[in-house]
Symmetry: C2
Subunit: 166 residues, 2 copies
DNA sequence: AGTGAAAGTACAGCTGA
DNA sequence: TCAGCTGTACTTTCACT
């Protein structure tokens, strides 16, 4: 099972840094119950092993003038691998598209988009997304309000599972 | 317009910290072109003003044993405000639900969920989500693969808009 | 600029295969 | 015995006034 290579201290480090990524190393060390140098070594190891992919400030999109958030469900005409990849590459080049996930089921992709206002999203939709080769159907849904937006994974669920598999 | 109270240096700070939230203050100061002390003051101000809501390590869910990511589209039977709020509160209490957004259109909510494997998601779906009061329809879509997953907002779009509104 | 704290390094001791 | 991890001591760099 994945995650087995990590001991409880490593998992605690990840949980703490997920909750506060700018915590100092000494504070982190205190919380996980070891001294600072080995704690720092563990963090570096976790970074190099890819368990930590990066650190990001969580900025307030609305305050910065991105008032609109939209989910777009996209269906393609051809689902050949080359066409799927081409669409994914296109998404990476659209700054308003923040996330793009390929799905099973009726729809091929879900896109999470941000935009300064409705009209700028509409112009993205009509003159970019809908005019892209191979794009069949697009259904968009405005986010009325956000109810929950937690980053990463629930470490308490992970600990629960690991303690059961003893 | 929102974002106007920030000068170009503030926006640069936000962009840099969004890209690397664990950067030291001196490195940040160097990149935005001012000396360290005023840079730190700006960061504190941005934090207190809510432009920066937090800092998070971006952990690899798969490596940690969360192999499955699912989008769930949820329709409620009653859309009265009290019922909407009750469902949102329920979502906050489900650790597998990482995001919950209220949408316009046919569907009331989109949920982004993670789970260790398909069977644990199924048991969440059937014994938690589907048995919740007032939940009408639920359509789930497995994420086959992720194509893009960028945090936050596109600062280049913001700069473009601001330079046009001169 | 200056002080106090944290990051990072070197080395020695402990622990378990 | 040896590998791996830990903690102490020390230097450099950073945070903060």
């Amino acid at each position: 099972m994945a995650g087995t290579r990590l001991d409880p201290i490593d998992r605690k480090i990840l949980a703490e840094l997920q909750a506060d990524g700018r915590m100092t190393n000494v504070e982190l060390a205190k919380r996980v119950g070891i001294s600072a140098p080995p704690c720092l070594r563990r963090v570096r190891t976790l970074e190099e092993a890819g368990y930590i992919k990066g650190y990001h400030a969580d900025v307030d999109a609305r305050e910065l003038g991105f008032e609109v958030q939209v989910f777009a469900m996209v269906g393609l005409q051809s689902q050949a691998e080359a066409d799927l990849s081409a669409f994914e590459e296109q998404c990476r080049n659209w700054p308003l598209v923040r996330e793009c996930h390929m799905l099973n089921g009726e729809v091929d992709f879900v896109l999470k988009c941000v935009a300064p206002d409705l009209s700028s999203f509409q112009s993205f939709l009509t003159s970019e997304l809908l005019t892209t080769d191979n794009v069949g159907s697009v259904k968009t849904s405005l986010v009325i309000r956000g109810a929950k937006d937690e980053p990463g994974v629930p470490f308490d669920v992970l600990e629960e599972r690991l303690s059961q598999s003893d």
